[in-house]
């Protein structure tokens, strides 16, 4: 072969090698000198330069006053299907439905979707716990090792299954404080209690971060702060103890439900809200069974009722404060009083003769209290009740509080007889927390502190304590001291079941008939007790409500012992010494 025969080939190759970089250079120059082109090319490149990552910042924690975690986060998993990678939808449906306990047909129809530009991924299950994912992973690993050993034996092809971890809610204490905490099992949504009330603080909206695909452009991502954490006023030990007591009370008194409110009258901090029913917050599947239509999630704030004789302490406090009566005022009880055309009788239909105001409270005389309200007149009585907050929301920081009802003159359904019946807690409704908050004025020198459940908010490492504030001052300090003394004496004279050895307490029972569309029930009652102590320096106020007790209808029989038991448990848990020792300690520290 002649060497010249190859010359044109070498020349062509050389020319190509020479022209290629020249063309690339010319193209570079052409793009660089044309700003429109530069922009277009840059935008085209940017479309593939970054990919979106969706980040749900961790929901804030909820802790009790001692730092015990009540609501935190755990790793859970989303299981989805990468549609373009699916080979065998039946295998995927069989495995996922059997291991994750989800519907076969749902998974199969999702896995059978034809991949397109608008359908690339399908979620088949979310919030799957670690244990189930571990089972799935083990199964998939076994499958892949078997298939690699002998591909012909491979029964399942699970290509396309995607497992993505994220955070979900966990409630380590399960049922303790469930009515207070509420629950949140969906991103950025809280239901009931603190979870709903403070949802905007606990959660942060989902963030979309554009992460460069090109490693040359990689840079540190912004630190996304998690939601704020909340420190509650409750102590889990006190809450648990009161919940146990509630359960015991339901059994022992044969009540439909029981409720205990414990608060610190000096600062409005709620120490415990215990009621029935309660729910394991990690298993919300029981929600509909436990809380059917009409059953409030938290009775302490969501269920108003006619409180009966515990209301008498408010009437008497108002009358003493207004100067309508004094503790020594004598009333001759004839067993009946007529007000607005309604004849009002005592609980035993008896006449109790001459009574001081202390005797009226001690024997819980409806006739006497109706007379007291008459002495005040409706123009004084109702402003006092409003000042106590009756018929209004307490403003406690929990979702779904109801206000109860106080009919006042001028309302279409208010009659003069209501002044008499309202005086002993009939024809007026309030929630247990409302009653406790109103009566806290008597235990705190006449001041009602704003009730609250959140003590502090922690945001990005900083703690902001919310403190306490005075909400209302319905009565004078002297009145509060006087009525506290009267109620302490009343319990002592009666040798009440509510008395606690070593601790002087003030309190009042309540037995209320239940209103129905056909009048008041005669054989079913709401039994209540309110008490606070130590009488000379109240540190706690406890409100008890037993709904329809079957053992006895009387508050003095069923609710008083529950109060005593609650105090006996509480003083141990909050390190409150008996009165004599407390006085000694006070003297030593002075």
């Amino acid at each position: 072969m002649n060497e010249n025969a190859y010359t044109w080939r070498y020349s062509s190759l050389g020319l190509f090698i020479f022209l290629l970089p020249v063309m690339v250079t010319l193209q570079l120059i052409r793009i660089q000198v044309n700003p429109g082109w530069v922009k277009e090319v840059m935008e085209f490149g940017e479309r593939f330069e970054k990919e979106a990552q969706f980040i749900d910042p961790a929901r804030g924690q909820i802790l009790d006053r001692k730092g015990n975690l009540l609501a935190g986060n755990q790793i859970v998993y989303e299981v989805g299907i990468d549609l373009p990678k699916v080979v065998d939808p039946r295998s995927i449906a069989t495995v996922l439905s059997s291991i994750l306990d989800i519907d076969y047909e749902d998974v199969y129809s999702a896995a059978s979707l034809e991949a397109s530009e608008s359908a690339v991924y399908a979620v088949v299950a979310d919030y799957i716990p670690q244990e189930k994912i571990d089972k799935l992973n083990i199964f998939m690993e076994q499958l892949s090792s078997e298939a690699s050993g002998s591909p012909e034996k491979g029964l399942f092809n699970l290509a396309g299954i995607v497992i993505e971890p994220h955070l979900g809610r966990l409630y380590p204490e399960r049922m303790i404080g469930s009515n207070i905490i509420g629950f949140s099992h969906l991103p950025n949504v809280g239901y009931f209690g603190v979870e709903e009330q403070y949802n905007d603080m606990l959660s942060r909206p989902r963030e979309t971060i554009w992460v460069p695909v090109n490693p040359l452009l990689a840079e540190e991502q912004t630190d996304l702060p998690s939601g704020s954490s909340l420190i509650l006023t409750i102590d889990r030990a006190v809450q648990k103890s009161m919940e146990e007591l509630v359960d015991e009370a339901v059994v022992e008194t044969g009540s439909d439900s029981a409720t205990i409110v414990v608060l610190n009258p000096k600062n409005g901090e709620i120490m415990a809200l215990a009621t029935t029913p309660r729910m394991d917050l990690n298993d919300i599947s029981e929600y509909k069974n436990l809380f059917p239509q009409g059953v409030p999630y938290n009775r302490t704030i969501g269920q108003d009722y006619e409180p009966g004789s515990v209301f008498k302490v408010l009437t008497m406090a108002a009358a003493l404060d207004a100067g309508a009566v004094t503790p020594e005022t004598q009333f001759v009880d004839t067993g009946v009083i007529e007000m607005g055309g309604l004849r009002i009788y005592n609980w035993n239909m008896g006449a109790w003769g001459p009574q001081s105001m202390l005797g009226c409270l001690q024997h819980s005389l409806n006739v006497c209290l109706a007379w007291v309200s008459k002495q005040m007149g409706y123009e004084n009585f109702y402003p006092y009740m409003k000042a106590f907050g009756i018929g209004q929301l307490t403003g406690v920081d929990l979702a779904w509080e109801v206000s109860g009802r106080l009919k006042i003159p001028g309302d279409g359904d208010w009659y003069e007889a209501d002044l008499g019946t309202n005086a002993f807690g009939q024809g007026v409704s309030a929630t247990p927390l409302q009653m406790a908050v109103a009566i806290s004025a008597l235990a705190n020198q006449g001041k009602i502190m704003t009730p609250h459940i959140v003590k502090a908010i922690v945001n990005e490492g900083y703690i902001r304590e919310l403190g306490s504030s005075v909400m209302r001052v319905p009565i004078k300090p002297e009145t509060a001291s006087t009525i506290t003394e009267m109620l302490a004496q009343s319990l002592e004279i009666e040798a009440s079941d509510a008395l606690v050895t070593g601790y002087r307490v003030a309190g009042k029972t309540g037995t209320a008939e239940i209103p129905t569309p056909y009048g008041y029930t005669t054989n079913e009652t709401n039994a209540s007790f309110v008490g606070w102590g130590p009488a000379d320096d109240p540190q706690f106020l406890i409100y008890i409500w037993l709904e329809r007790p079957s053992v006895s209808p009387w508050g003095s029989v069923v609710a008083s012992p529950v109060f005593r038991e609650a105090v006996e448990r509480l003083v141990v848990l909050i390190d409150l010494p008996p009165d004599d020792i407390r006085h000694q300690l006070d003297q030593n520290t002075q």
Partner: protein, 127 residues
Amino acid sequence: MVVVFSILFATVYLHISARTAEVGRQIQVMQNEIDELDRMNEDLRSQLALIKSSEQMEQRAEALGFKPVQKDEITFLSVPGYMEPPVMVYQHQAVDKPPGKTKVPDEYTESLFDWMRRKATFYLVVR
């Protein structure tokens, strides 16, 4: 000479680009690790709380022979100078830097041409 210089120049450029890409990739991997560790931290806090839950603690205490104290079994002592500890105990870390994006210097991300353009612009504008 030109060829040798070009080859040397290209080699250095390729080496630097490769190293930058590798470090960039490491940053991305570490970022994912940070996210995973954050999740694990949250999870571990909750797992610890489960272990320390009141039900678990009560079972352990009972197994060790403890029983709930009754109010008449407590002896109160007056200790001069004793200060009651704060009710709320919450371990927290102070934030030592404001949240925000950390800017990586241009030298770590720009290409050779970007660098040349930036320098050229600088000289043209400044001089």
